[in-house]
Symmetry: C2
Subunit: 658 residues, 2 copies
């Protein structure tokens, strides 16, 4: 294990996002998403699926009577919301919001049992079934989310109420699970507790939590299989089907073999990436080479063979799961928002293990395309499934495509995605830098002001960036005192050819200092040293790997970190009637008024099939004819902005004519 | 209503298939399929799903003890087999087969109740539930199939045992169902009885059966909805789900509105076309204009907007159903064999109502492509789902494509399709001609010797045809005595430009005598008059209607009635890497040894994507590059022959480059 073991992220409080592009999202999350989601959790959003999540806590706390309602993991929506609030308060104190959150925390604690146990479903509805169905019932998953909330809230506010409560819960969990005689040798069907316990360890220093996380990871997939043992218990009943139901599919839960033996990403994609994240955490914390090797292998399979160009993962809605290598259908896709958020977690942890820009490239891709695309411009509508091709009629009328929604929804019965997005954007500051001994890695070009501790030296960094519309970046480095250290700047995978890098106005030969995708500026840094970076950002035609059948003969447009798409609103329908030439110029133009925030719009000369009048008027819909076409100007918009102008067709991949 | 009301088909006994192409299929059905399916019905096929159908009858007849096994409609497999045997015996007497069938018929009759009722499921398993769940339980469907069997067996052998038994059953059904007080105002969830009762009427002359059929058709979809009334009964339970289950989806059963008000084809596709067939029968028998209008409308919607180029219908496996206009995905397709067989029934009935070649064109398309393609060359393996694009790995590993099998199966738990195919091919002689007053319509060019009654004159027809490989047809007309009548010869929709038509060696201007797609040869016919027809049969590139998104930018190859496809065995994989030019010549060549029977193979110059070595070796699978390609010779085979050379990719639609 290399020196990267000492790599760490920069605490959220030490980074203030000042970015033109991202400030908008941060503000939206702070001012709209977080308040809106609180209303949703309290069932005060009209025309939206009810949540009942807060009421469940009230009922469990004995403050109200009623029945449990919602999914077995409904508690986690409150946890993710509290986590988002914790992040938000870390950078933007807000006494009103803090008061609401404090009250919510008191409610959560009021619903906690004396022994530390917390779960409203099992408190209200299945009192005697605690830990009886780990396969299906998300008890440790909910625990993990509340632990993450507790850590974030403590880090954001300094308040320990929830943290202490969750330590009690974690201590109790530790007393229940493990390999010691009398303990339950189980693990959760939905991974999450594993990465949460590492965070709890990091903030408390209590190694018991790290060991418990390691236990869950090591135990998973061991023989005899825990889920089989559960299933074979006479009183066992599946939660998601009637009665005994089917024997659990181990691979769905990534429990088919021990984690170190897993070769490819399989099963439910969110569970997978949450698990990989914890594996990377443990590899880092424990210097565990075999775990790191498994992480590298699973990363490689995920991003090289099972990832959409938007950073989406999970090809099928059956089990919200990976299917198999190169099977990336654009229309029946799943690509759940949470899965790409989990992929970002995994990428962040891999960056802490080894500073290779490939991790940050994928992180940036998922973030700028799928993740922010899952939220409407109004911050109040969300995608759960993020397709690359939409035909609204098919979404409505072909049951195999019902899961693909042509417009974002106000809320979901299963509302895992919107609060997950909120917590990610609220904690964006944690994804910009990692620090390793005397090197500060810059992974994302997002305007910010940060203070980074480098050994016993504090370094103030001010970054001004124009991404994703322009590649100009200015970084002002102001160490407390002058001295030698390295500033490592990521060279994004979308940069072709030469880029311009100036330090205090003097050109640096960028190519000569690149290592693992980072330009290593190893020098004596003094007060207000200035770095200027001009990342060439050309719109490009992208093609897919020759085994990805869904994309063969097609091309997508990408510019910088942004993937583009065409919409019916600009190009008519059917979009499949459009074709393009890869030698056609991609003309870019900043449209200041586009969707209010403005965007670089891309136009290109293409064709639209045109069969003339009436040639298909009657008879069967097949003809021996040459398709005609007329030249048209195609208009592409950033993928993340699709679906904000009413319902219509959308496509990322365009048919290539030549 | 026009004079077509007197149109009739030619009895099966009066036609002997002598065709090179079809004799092979007839022989296969007679010598392999019928015996093989008898073995299957008796559970004597190794490695195949058990049928238990014959055992169910034995148990119901009290000749054996045991439990009912199989689908609630398992009886219908025996019925369809008996029907196929009836057809086969009509043209190819076979005492051994007849003895086996007679025994099977005695077994069926032994299982019949004194009151005429027959259904092994309700006899063995749910004694008290007769007529309690029409929505789900296929009682009248099974009755209909046994009635069809009885009619066919009577017509084929002159034996009335089963016919009399089924008249008793029909009489009993008539006493149960109807609008009269005290009768059940219901109808079956799966249409079939309606068309069967028309056949029973036609063979017995008993109008009661015609009226009962009319009742079922007229009652369907009336308010209050019968399926709702069933569902609202306190003791009602759905058959296909646990307990009460969901309220029936009326449209799935084509019971959402009365049949005359139905605008588009919806729901389960087999049910739909069986119903349309009965509607057309009743329109003909009763001169029912409003029913004819509905038939025309539903025909038009089905074949113009919801039919695959192979003659397949049903775009989704969810409910084995139609989805909506122009939604014809090639990969997640359903296109059940039975549905195209039902479409052929519907076409045949429409031809009896109005002799327009468009009906015969679709009939021919479904027959020569999907229907015969559903059976392996060995007559022992079958497709239930008939895709237009197959990626075997996806069939295995993407659950949304599990229903698409890359190779034909030995038998099915739900084995509706193989015996349906057997009965269709065994009765092919009924689809060649219709006779209307003084006109004999020739719908299919299939070698045969027939005797057709035209008024009080018998006309012997001898047809020699080379289809589907060559368009030469020779018809010898030998009336009992000379006289004037019309021989109407279909001009297939795949004929372009001029065709050659000679009568006794003299050229006839074909274009001038065409009416509704038939060349009307109205003349004095004498002994051994000869017609020679040369139908130009050029391989053609076909394109799809501009609203069929799945096929845009693609083309398929068709030659005469045959649709072609490419297979991995000839063209490597992925097939999506191939592209073609519509200006490339389609070279045809008869390969005598292909799959034993020989076939016209089509080759054309196309391209295969070729990215060179290693250009996608590592990293994410998207690149800014121009796809390279190399010229290749593409090899296409008739669609009906696909999947006979092991497992591999297959595609009907090919990407068009220019």
């Amino acid at each position: 294990m290399s020196a990267q073991l000492n790599t760490r992220i920069v605490p959220l409080q030490d980074t203030r996002i000042t970015d033109k592009f991202w400030s908008g999202f941060s503000k939206l999350v702070r001012e709209t998403v977080i308040p809106y989601q609180w209303e949703a959790l309290n069932d005060r959003v009209a025309d939206a699926d009810p949540s009942h999540a807060i009421r469940n806590f009230r009922i469990a706390a004995g403050q109200e009577t009623g029945e449990f309602y919602g999914f077995v993991f409904q508690d986690s929506d409150v946890a993710k919301w509290l986590e988002a609030v914790g992040y938000s308060l870390a950078t933007h104190p807000d006494p009103d919001l803090e008061r609401v959150a404090d009250e919510a925390i008191e409610l959560v604690i009021a619903a906690q049992h004396k022994d530390g146990y917390l779960n409203t479903y099992f408190t209200i509805k299945e009192k005697d079934k605690r830990w009886k169905n780990l396969t299906d019932c998300h008890e440790l998953y909910c625990a993990g989310h509340m632990i993450e909330a507790a850590v974030a809230y403590y880090q954001g506010t300094g308040k320990r109420r929830l943290l202490d409560a969750m330590c009690r819960f974690a201590d109790y969990i530790d007393s229940v699970f493990g390999t010691e005689p009398g303990k339950l040798q189980g693990y959760d069907g939905h991974q999450e507790i594993e990465l949460a316990l590492v965070k709890l360890y990091e903030v408390t220093g209590n190694e018991r939590y790290l060991k418990l996380s390691q236990y869950f990871i090591d135990q998973r997939g061991q023989s005899p299989h825990f889920f089989d043992q559960e299933y074979d218990r006479p009183d066992y009943e599946r939660y998601w089907s009637e009665g005994k139901g089917q024997r659990p599919n181990q691979a769905y839960h990534q429990a088919h073999v021990p984690v170190r033996e897993q070769q490819v990403a399989v099963g439910h994609s969110v569970r997978a990436v949450y698990m990989y994240t914890a594996m990377a955490d443990l590899a880092r914390e424990n210097g565990d080479e075999s775990l790191l090797e498994a992480c590298r292998r699973l990363w490689k399979n995920t991003v090289e063979k099972q990832m959409y160009i938007t950073g989406g993962i999970g090809s099928t809605h059956h089990g919200e799961a990976f299917s198999f290598d190169y099977d990336l259908p654009n229309d029946t896709v799943y690509a759940e928002t949470c899965a790409s958020i989990g992929l970002i977690f995994f990428a962040q942890r891999m960056l802490q293990l080894e500073a290779k820009s490939e991790y940050a490239d994928v992180l940036e891709r998922a973030l700028y395309n799928l993740v922010i695309g899952s939220m409407a411009a109004d911050g109040k509508h969300f995608f759960y499934v993020n397709p690359l091709e939409v035909w609204p009629d098919a979404s409505r009328l072909n049951p195999g495509r019902h899961h693909v929604k042509p417009v974002r929804q106000r809320w979901f019965g299963c509302a895992c995605c919107p609060p997950n997005l909120a917590r990610l954007i609220a904690s964006l500051g944690q994804y910009l830098y990692t620090v390793e001994e005397d090197t500060i890695y810059t992974h994302l070009y997002v305007g910010n002001e940060s203070t980074v501790s480098l050994g016993d030296r504090k370094v103030a960094l001010k970054q001004e960036a124009e991404l994703p519309w322009d590649g100009r970046v200015k970084i002002t480095v102001s160490p407390e005192r002058s001295g030698r250290f390295t500033l490592a700047l990521r060279r994004p995978d979308w940069v072709r050819g030469e880029l311009t890098l100036l330090v205090n106005g003097k050109r640096v030969d960028a190519a000569s200092v690149v290592r693992d995708g980072y330009m290593m500026l190893d020098r004596e840094w003094g007060p207000s040293d200035q770095i200027e970076l001009a990342l060439p950002m050309e719109a490009e035609w992208m093609i897919a790997h020759p085994q990805i059948r869904a994309d063969l003969g097609k091309a997508a447009i990408q510019r910088g970190p942004l993937v583009y798409c065409v919409e019916e609103a600009d190009n008519g329908q059917p979009l499949a009637a459009l074709s393009v030439s890869l030698s056609a110029k991609l003309e870019t133009r900043f449209d200041e008024s586009f969707l209010g925030s403005g965007a670089v719009i891309i136009e290109t000369d293409g064709w639209q099939d045109d069969y003339g009048d009436n040639r298909f008027e009657a008879g069967i819909p097949y003809r021996p004819m040459q398709p005609l076409r007329k030249p048209v100007k195609l208009r592409a918009i950033p993928y993340y902005m699709w679906g904000n102008r009413g319902e219509g067709e959308m496509a990322v991949w365009l048919r290539v004519r030549d």
